[in-house]
């Protein structure tokens, strides 16, 4: 016999339909693998379903799912690194590549994949998802100071990998 009420299931279904694409983007950026990102999204959505009565508001549900994605990804990457195969390029998307910029993007993608899990997640949340330091800290369950430190270390490594090609993000444009 189902534990959740039908109304909860309906609300959850609506949430999945509305937010899956956005949540998948986060999953893909932090885990770096298309298949793993789908697994990660599904696992996180199941946890959200289990926690649904505590969440109710879709905004809470999205934040909860995103936080689960980030934390699980950091954990998976730490534990699964021995299985992970480096993918040098992004999977083909629906939009055609802009050939003049793909090379630079793929170098950034490759460099991003070399970062330790927490640094990678920090950079993704700060500069790809455009979150503030405080929002990033909340998602990663750490202090703002820790976010600053991880950001500093990550950008230093990216600079080392990419050399003169590296375009540092303008951190002042991101709400702090």
């Amino acid at each position: 016999m189902p534990v959740r009420h039908q109304s909860d299931v309906s609300a959850f279904s609506e949430f999945v339909a509305a937010r899956s694409a956005s949540l998948f983007r986060t999953a893909y950026l932090v885990i770096g693998d298309h298949q793993l990102a789908q697994d990660l999204l599904q696992d996180s959505l199941v946890r959200t379903y289990v926690a649904w009565p505590r969440l109710r508001d879709p905004a809470n549900a999205e934040a909860y799912t995103r936080r689960t994605i980030v934390r699980t990804a950091v954990s998976w990457r730490r534990r699964r690194s021995f299985h992970e195969l480096a993918a040098a390029e992004l999977p083909e998307g629906r939009a055609p590549d802009e050939t003049t910029r793909v090379g630079a993007r793929d170098e950034l993608w490759s460099a991003l994949r070399l970062l330790p899990p927490r640094q990678r997640a920090t950079v993704v949340l700060r500069f790809c998802e455009d979150l503030s330091e405080a929002q990033t800290a909340t998602l990663m369950d750490c202090s703002v100071g820790s976010v600053k430190k991880q950001t500093f270390l990550a950008l230093g490594k990216l600079r080392d990998h990419l050399g003169a090609d590296f375009v540092p993000p303008d951190q002042t444009t991101v709400t702090s």
Partner: protein
Amino acid sequence: MTSFLDLARQVESLAPPTPDVATLVARGERELHRRRVAAVVTAAAVVVVMIAGGVLVGGGDPDSRGPIEPTHRHDRTPAPTLPKVRQIAYADGLRGRSIHFGTHEVRTGIAFTQIDVTDDGFLFSTGDVHGQGNKSLWFSDGGSPVKLSDSDCGAAHGFANGVVTGTSGSRAVWLECPKGAPQSLVVFNTSSMREVVRQPLEPCEPQPGGCSLEALIGDDVYLVDAYTRHPDGPIRTRGLVLDLTTSSLTQVSTTDQRYAEATDTQAYIADVRSLARGLVVGESPQTGQPTDGIGLRFSVVGATARLVPDLGMPNGDEIRGPAWSIATGRQVQLRLPPGYDFPGRADTFSLFEWLDDDTVALLAGGGGWDGGRSAGDILTCRLSDGRCRLAVRGPAERTVRVVPNLDLPG
């Protein structure tokens, strides 16, 4: 910044997945059902424990009535009769006065800093972790403890971190420090209760730091010697190995290292590969890193709650699973017991004892109070089929569990 946003846009353009809501709901319902069953089982177990506890609890605080000399608390069950199967040893609290060993609880009457275990019983050493206080070494087979040695190796030594035992067998090894002489290595057989080796170690001069023991692998004792080339020169360390069959002492590390470890050498790796009780962590049994498994940390992974090892290397790196049995060459795939995968449980488990060639004991959460609700639980796991069971429930909240071979928290 533009590049990062480009990256995000590129990902956004990927074909988004279309999660099957029915599948998600079904998985969620299964998880909810599993949690309900686990809650019912846990509640039933609590009732049973409370009833059993009501029968057993009768005495006062053992700390408050402790004589200085150790005494045996109860002897209703005989000493272990299966010497090849080790018993689990543990104590609760950093200033505990009793040690559990198999079905026994042995009252030490004195604070101890370290527990070691052999096939025949357990050793405990007294004196604080800085080597202060009354330093002595004791052995118990589950009955009244017997003093084996007093030590005066100075503030830097004592017996804390100065006793080693193998993953099997009856030998315990420690260092003693005769006045004005190099340290002596003592090997004691806990089955025959006799000292079998006492050998001065010429390189192990008390100054500047003497030697400290690292491991007993087969017939080889691994130790580290701190030395200086000149009286006022910098302290260096070197790894040594003493072959107990030939009494020969050889250096196994390169010279002039600031922090040498005898267990970070090819000699150690070759020795460990000869063990029946050993694991290899890495992609294959041939290419992975061998270890005697002691201190090996396992992390919980995936929906089936597999335990995947993270092998800490002396240089600070970590090698992550899979693990292989040295004895069988087969992959070791441990899993948490059914129903044990509850929210808030510890997410790491450390191997601290081999009970036999196929069974290991793991401590949940490192024994500290930050390891989740299950911190201090002891699991026993069979390598052959990966099954684990809860052998000993963890101590009360904010009580540290002390087990053989693992560092104390902090």
